[in-house]
Symmetry: C2
Subunit: 206 residues, 2 copies
């Protein structure tokens, strides 16, 4: 399942089934093909772009597969910004995740798992950077994090944490976008290892 940022929201790529139902693009493995390679191939063929990040979600057997297969192995792929601006060739379409409705039970479970997987890994892998162009403003980076996390972040805190992590370096370019003061462009340039985990969290549901 491919996700991409579009219009300030996450969009998911769906394909029209032979009937009229929308389904997550899928294919069976060919020969000894690795699972990751199958997922890569499905994303390239359905979206027209190569994914810039890919992760397995898990195996799903509840509900129904579009072709009645017993087992689905779900993957989530992120496709860089801009790739979702024009719809890909065949019967596929980018749909904002908030407007997706009428999926089958298994398909809906996979979509929820995809969002959860992205949010889980966001602080451990440079996911947001792979969705942006090489040069970006800090506001764009923050907006990408907010998009992927699905919640607002505090500007000053975001920049403080980013500075402390030595993840980006400023370029000498600036970009003026409409009204306000121009923003400096940055690039992803990780420099140091990060701090070790501190403490234990007891974030149970209660």
């Amino acid at each position: 399942m491919a996700l991409t940022p579009r219009d300030g929201e996450l969009a998911v790529l769906l394909e029209r089934e032979s009937g009229s139902r929308w389904v997550i693009p899928w294919e069976a493995p060919r020969g000894d093909e690795r699972l990751d390679d199958v997922a890569q191939r499905v994303v390239r063929e359905s979206s027209g772009s190569a994914p810039s990040w890919l992760s397995q979600i898990g195996a799903f057997a509840d509900g129904r597969h579009p072709s009645d297969l017993d087992l689905s192995v779900g993957y989530v792929a992120l496709v860089p910004m801009g790739a979702g601006d024009e719809p890909p060739s065949n019967e596929a379409e980018w749909r904002p995740v908030s407007e997706v409705a009428g999926l089958g039970e298994r398909q809906a479970t996979i979509l929820q798992g995809a969002l959860a997987t992205v949010r889980d890994r966001l602080d451990l892998q440079p996911i947001a950077f792979r969705l942006l162009p090489v040069s970006f403003t800090l506001s764009e980076l923050q907006q990408m994090y907010e998009l992927l996390l699905g919640r607002r972040l505090h500007k000053a805190s975001f920049r403080r944490a980013l500075q402390a992590a030595f993840l980006v370096e400023p370029t000498d370019e600036w970009r003026s976008e409409g009204r306000g003061r121009p923003a400096q462009l940055y690039r992803y340039a990780p420099k140091r290892r990060r701090r070790g985990r501190r403490g234990v969290r007891f974030d149970l549901l209660g």
Copy 2:
């Protein structure tokens, strides 16, 4: 794959294959059986105990399955303390994870995934409590967390966080264990919802 605390370390249940190799217990689904139910059944049959916690790890196709199946769906199950004291019936054995060697490539990947999955969920689900008896001392609880996380924790911080989380309540019993001052017994009794996540972490590898 079943894990249990034993001798201050995590132990994993392995079965002897027809040859002489040790493999993770497995079975194919029967009919329309749900994946979680298959995993439950495998754990009960191989360990003799019902798992007190169960989670899917993912689908694995690289490497080789003991019976050359294309795809393995890995699960990790935790079995309460004490169940691993005596080995189960057939050709199965609890082995400390640190001493496991000579597994196949796919099996080794699943074992690593099992440990990672447990550690990932430890702060979101009451995993540690399901491994302990209903009454336990705070030191025992901390040792369980340390066992599952694979690292030492700070005593005062651990208790402070635990208190703030309203997860346990004291009983009026005490237990004297060898030398020092007796410890009060506690029971798991979650009371309030936890705080929401704060901030963003940039724990990338760099």
